[in-house]
């Protein structure tokens, strides 16, 4: 989308047609003018983020800070600024689940979450599951049941499985299917993933 800037108020009818860099440069001035005239509609005491500002949140158990622009997604922040590349970018539209992380213990698509919306929240990525060398039961289950082929969906799958088991320690096959219904595996490893969840459930029951 970069390089497809459009002319402020004319945006709706001309979308998609002004794609050249030259037009983009000319349009930048117009956007600034439009913005200036709009400022009065925002209450003067309202909190407004313009450009980069500091974000604080808890990431894998540790307080972290980062400079982020409002348009940066949590996925981009994790992968490109935090060096946490376990979380995968695939569709970037919330349709595949490869970018699944936990936000306050619930699964979310980090590609559709603005990083700034994680402010003050608790984010867990696949890197935060293991305790040192001790794998999370779901990770152990995936290893033991060979629940991956190309591995690209795996971090997101693991996060969905871990969230399900935290809520429902002994899921039925139907619960497991529902639990990973927001994750797609191109290689078709679903049956092994179900077995990995059974294994993880047993490991958790045994306290491992």
């Amino acid at each position: 989308m970069d390089g497809k800037k459009i002319e402020g108020s004319d945006a709706l009818s001309r979308r998609g047609f002004l794609k050249s860099a030259g037009v983009a440069a000319a349009a930048t001035t117009l956007i600034h003018e439009t913005r200036k005239s709009l400022e009065s509609t925002i209450p003067s005491d309202a909190t407004v983020m313009r450009g980069e500002s500091e974000l604080k949140f808890k990431l894998n158990g540790k307080e972290v800070t980062a400079k982020v622009a409002p348009s940066l997604t949590l996925l981009e922040l994790l992968r490109e600024k935090m060096d946490l590349t376990g979380t995968k970018q695939v569709c970037d539209r919330g349709a595949c689940g490869a970018c699944t992380v936990h936000l306050d213990g619930r699964t979310v698509n980090s590609c559709l979450l603005l990083a700034v919306d994680a402010s003050g929240r608790n984010v867990t990525t696949v890197e935060g599951l293991a305790q040192g060398e001790q794998l999370h039961p779901v990770q152990q289950g995936f290893v033991e049941e060979d629940a991956m082929q190309c591995g690209f969906c795996t971090p997101g799958m693991v996060m969905s499985c871990a969230a399900l088991l935290a809520k429902n320690p002994k899921p039925t096959r139907a619960d497991c299917a529902e639990g990973i219904s927001g994750n797609i595996c191109r290689c078709g490893t679903y049956l092994n993933i179900f077995r990995a969840m059974d294994r993880a459930s047993a490991l958790m029951k045994a306290g491992k």
Binding site: R15, I31, R35, T47, G51, P70, S71, S160, G182
Partner: protein, 335 residues
Amino acid sequence: MKNFDYVLAKDAAEAAKAAQGKNTLLKGAGTDLLDRMKEGVSRPDIVVNLLTCTDLRAPIREEGGRIIMGAATTLTEIAESPLLQKVAPGLAEAAGEAATPQLRNRGTLAGNICQRPRCWYFRNDTYACSKKGGETCYSIEGENKFHAIFENVSCNIVHPSNLAPILQALGATLHVVSAKDDKVTSSDIALKDFWVRPEEDISRENILGPGQVIREVSFATPAAGTGSAYVETREKASFDWALTSCAAVLRIEGGIIVDAHVVMSSVAPTPLSVDAVVAMLKGKAPSESLFKSAGAKATDGATPMRDNGYKVTLVAVAVKRALVSAAARAVGGAK
């Protein structure tokens, strides 16, 4: 995604004031908005965040004979609410079937109602379709498998919300905060009056204008003997939009249907209340054959296009199944 100024509104009134300007969009979870912004279909200069509005996060509760929900209540919270599961199981099931666990954990009540249509010509920024200010509805001659079979005149979108039909069947009201300069007022809008048909204004799906924010959604606590259900047909068991859907609310007393509300969706640009079906149900004893006839009746006047004739059959099935389920719950008492 183009950058924007991000207003962290503290309540609905502040959000409404901030949202009066041009090229300003409201954002709940943003799961639909970010998708459109990444596609270049929406390019706001200012985005007003509603997640920071404390009054939109008011909990699901029963007050003065009404069930009230904050507009930013998530679909997961609706699906898992013991209160809603008891008094309006059709609403809980509609929320629980939407999209995926990840999206339900973030997607909000008002966001689900106000999400933009899924028409692939609308969603693709290379098509200057009539909804985006162009001159052509590409679905008329093009690929129209997922498009409307009713009221398909100038723009053949189908309404994508799966909370809207059941909320409309429950007689829901939207509590809206409106700003005009510095002055803020509140008003109530019946959900059935919320929709805008393409022939009225092709660029929008509802009447919400600049400076207007949905704060809460409520409906009268269903009377004893009421059953509600939401049924949708899909290509995939999960992670899909409905091909056709139907919400039904029935009240049964002494073995007779005394009140009925039937709303079809995914078949027209707006959720459709089916009055002809309601008329044939009232005063009759519930039965599978009655509900099957009701499903057939609901398809009267359908105008399918080249690729979507199958929807006529499917929506009749959705109507029948929703009525069967609602009747079972009405008779079953608590559910």
